[in-house]
């Protein structure tokens, strides 16, 4: 073992482990995978694993009990601390609503943050068919996780259903989630890998995600053909992850990673970046990374990661690890993502809540359905 991987990818719980297992085949060398679960059957044999709660659950799952998940993780605290040491970036992939992910997730994220790593968490939220209790527990866990992670991205399973045609096979549904999360992780890993044409400073990326609990933006798009990078950027701009419930669409700092085949032109790449910036912001800091890869001939991928400070502290809007002093004279205006735009000409009218949703907001926004691109 020459050196520790720059990014430690943690699969936590059944859903997390299976997603990391699917992803790990296509990940670059900078990413090391680690599997954590209470259920020993979901831990792969040929990878780094930590089985949680051997005493408590005896190799079974937690059966959806959040308390059991937490206790299981606490019992392995020493092993976890050892495994988490040294990695500058820890990416946790988990599924919320069950026992291990919801229970152990916040604890593991806390340990990772204690170890000095920048923690980014991708959490899948349960399908709404899975019932209210699961949904409620997932929401609670998401709040707890988001407070401990530097970046938190919720992948709503309901979104997945809307991304695929009605007659597609079950694995294809989850492939969309794999593509988004995998793309974001590849983009992140690319910043740590040598040989980029436009290299990014890994520290700058860490600084984007420096504040725990800040709203995080994540988007990924792939494209092919002529001007593949532009196609990919358009897909990233329309990525449902960035338009899901509770997602932010304007952030102060973003990291954009563009990768393409050897024929990737600079115009194409920078047009793509401009398009992403126009959509997502990034006025305070934009960290760029571009690379070409012979294996990606004719294709391109754009991944975007961004964050701003939490809303109520506009005076500290200047982010980034450059040590810039706050500019007190500058007012930060709220972004126009709110009701005024979303509700259209019902903007002034009283809210109408049906089934817990404000039904004046267009259905396609609430369900985060990606509309066909313009003509």
């Amino acid at each position: 073992m020459e050196r520790a991987p720059s990014i430690l990818l943690l699969g936590l719980g059944g859903a997390g482990c299976s997603m990391v297992a699917r992803l790990s085949a296509a990940l670059p060398a900078e990413v090391g995978a680690l599997f954590l679960d209470t259920d020993e059957r979901s831990l792969p044999a040929d990878a780094r694993t930590i089985q949680l709660g051997r005493q408590q659950t005896r190799g079974m799952g937690t059966g959806g009990e959040t308390g059991a998940g937490l206790a299981a993780a606490e019992s392995e605290e020493v092993a976890l601390r050892r495994a988490l040491a040294g990695a500058p970036v820890v990416v946790i992939v988990t599924g919320l609503g069950g026992g291990t992910g919801s229970g152990a997730g916040p604890f593991v994220a806390g340990l990772a943050a204690d170890s000095g790593a920048t923690v980014l968490c991708f959490a899948t939220m349960p399908f709404s068919h899975e019932g209210e209790r699961r949904q409620r527990e997932a929401d609670q866990a998401a709040t707890a996780l988001a407070a401990r992670c530097h970046g938190f991205v919720a992948v709503h399973n309901d979104l997945l259903l809307q991304q695929v045609p009605a007659d597609s096979a079950l694995p294809a549904t989850f492939a969309a989630a794999d593509a988004w999360v995998g793309g974001a992780i590849r983009g992140l890993a690319a910043a740590f890998a040598p040989g980029a044409l436009v290299p990014a400073d890994p520290a700058a990326i860490r600084s984007i995600l420096s504040t725990p609990g800040s709203p995080t933006l994540c988007a990924f798009g792939a494209g092919e053909g002529p001007r593949a990078a532009m196609t990919a950027a358009r897909a990233a701009v329309e990525c449902p992850l960035a338009h899901g419930p509770g997602a932010v669409t304007k952030v102060a700092s973003i990291f954009v990673h563009v990768s393409g085949g050897p024929e990737l032109t600079s115009t194409d790449a920078f047009d793509a970046v401009a398009m992403v910036r126009q959509k997502f912001g990034g006025n305070t800091a934009t960290v760029l990374c571009a690379r070409t890869d012979p294996g990606m001939a004719g294709r391109a991928e754009v991944s975007v990661l961004g964050a701003s400070l939490p809303e109520p502290k506009p005076a500290k809007a200047r982010k980034g690890g450059k040590g810039a002093k706050d500019d007190q004279s500058q007012t930060v205006f709220p972004f126009a993502t709110d009701d005024a735009v979303r509700r259209g000409f019902f903007g002034g009218a009283p809210l109408t809540i049906v089934d817990g949703q404000d039904i004046d907001v267009p259905t396609y926004i609430r369900r985060a359905v990606r509309l066909p691109a313009g003509p």
């Binding site: 259209g344 089934d355 267009p362 396609y364």
Partner: protein
């Protein structure tokens, strides 16, 4: 239960979110004939809720003025439609044990039962706007007319619609302000159903969905009676709004695009179809992807229908607790009748089939005037029908010679 004497002149006003329509008709030989009709764009109503009384008042005033001029008669009393999410329907029951020793039900028993049903107070702050007769049960069996039959337990039930008192007073006050009396209220969804559903439909079971501009009112008939009804504050304006948000165009443009290119069902073939806003490709003309339009509209349309389905199921579960209620062909052989302005959207019936799994048709109001045979006029035409059928006309001849002459010339 005494039939009210019906004047030969009947005026109805239907205040909707997008238009206010009024119809004046006359009963001649038991048949209603239209004398005049008027409609105006409603102002001051959003999602079925009055937001600007002054504007609405002006608009209603104009409509009344128009119909009075058109018919050449002064309107002294009107039937008013009430609906929207503010109106709530519920079932009230009255019960008497038949006192006669031989168990024969007398008219007085029936009246007692009716009185006991009506004695139930509506919730505080709400007022009853109308009662509608539901099946009468004698010893648990439905009977058409119990008087003279024998039994022990007589049960009458009504569909009672209540509304917040302030809202009712607002409307009544507005009409009274024009020296016009409100003769009666009629539930808007019931009115629409009267225009588009046949008696056979109501007997078998039918769901009438009146999708207007601001609200979607639905009513479910089963065995000739109202089983449940409801209303959602979503309508055609939401379709327009969604489109204007998605395409970033003005309300007018969105409305126009909705009518010309909209569909309640999104098809793969719509994507990549480019359409032009004006079609002349001149300055200011814009092109849009038709797929975007149908996607946005179909999502909203089908969501609205789904909300209706859920609302209906929720109410049905309340009526038949413990039963697995399903809205299917078995319960509703006549399926769904879609009416109101938003029923004009292309493929509306297909959307109903997809979301509810029921057969559907667009209900055109049955009326002798061609120009009113459109779904958007179901409300006002039905109001007229309901006004006639709910209070059957008394045989009454015009009194004075002058009245008789007038009636003669009108024929």
């Amino acid at each position: 239960m005494t039939p009210k004497p019906l004047p030969s002149l009947i005026a109805v006003i239907d205040i909707g979110t997008s238009k206010t329509a009024s119809l004046v008709g006359q009963m001649i030989g038991g048949q209603a004939r239209m004398l005049s009709f008027s409609e105006r764009r409603t102002e001051g109503v959003v999602k079925g809720v009055v937001t600007d009384l002054e504007k609405l008042h002006a608009c209603v005033h104009e409509v009344v003025h128009d119909v009075e001029r058109g018919s050449g008669r002064g309107v002294s009393e009107v039937y008013l439609s009430l609906g929207g999410p503010a109106a709530e329907g519920e079932r009230v029951k009255g019960l008497v044990m038949v006192p006669a020793r031989d168990g024969r039900v007398t008219l007085k028993d029936l009246q007692d039962a009716v009185a006991s049903a009506r004695r139930q107070e509506p919730p505080a702050g709400r007022t009853t706007i109308l009662y509608m007769r539901q099946p009468t049960m004698l010893d648990g069996k439905p009977v058409a007319s119990p008087v003279g039959m024998t039994g022990k337990r007589l049960e009458v039930s009504f569909w009672r619609v209540t509304m917040e008192e302030a809202l009712v007073r607002l409307r009544v006050g507005m009409v009274n302000g024009m020296s016009i009396r409100v003769r009666d209220f009629i539930l808007a969804s019931h009115a629409a159903a009267c225009a588009v559903a046949q008696d056979a439909d109501k007997h078998g079971g039918v769901l009438v969905v009146d999708m207007g501009a601001g609200t979607t009112d639905w009513i479910l008939y089963f065995k000739d009676h109202i089983l449940c009804a409801g209303s959602l504050p979503v309508g055609g304006e939401h379709l327009t709004n969604d489109l204007s948000v998605a395409l970033r165009v003005s309300r007018e443009t969105a409305e126009d695009l909705k009518c010309r290119f909209g569909s309640a069902v999104h098809r793969e073939a719509d994507v990549n179809q480019t359409i032009w806003k004006d079609g002349d490709r001149g300055l200011g003309d814009q092109q849009f992807n038709r797929g975007t339009i149908t996607r946005v509209l179909s999502l909203r349309y089908q969501e609205t229908l789904d909300l209706v389905r859920k609302d209906a199921l929720r109410q049905l579960e309340g009526i038949f607790p413990g039963h697995a209620v399903r809205l299917d062909q078995h319960m509703l052989p006549s399926g769904v009748i879609l009416t109101g302005g938003s029923a004009n959207l292309a493929d509306a019936c297909e959307a109903v089939q997809q979301t509810m799994g029921l057969t559907a048709r667009v209900g055109m109001p049955v009326f002798d005037n061609d120009s009113l045979r459109k779904p958007e006029y179901a409300g006002v035409v039905g109001l007229m029908r309901a006004a006639i059928t709910d209070a059957p006309p008394a045989a009454r001849r015009p009194r004075g010679l002058w009245e008789q002459l007038k009636a003669l010339f009108r024929l």
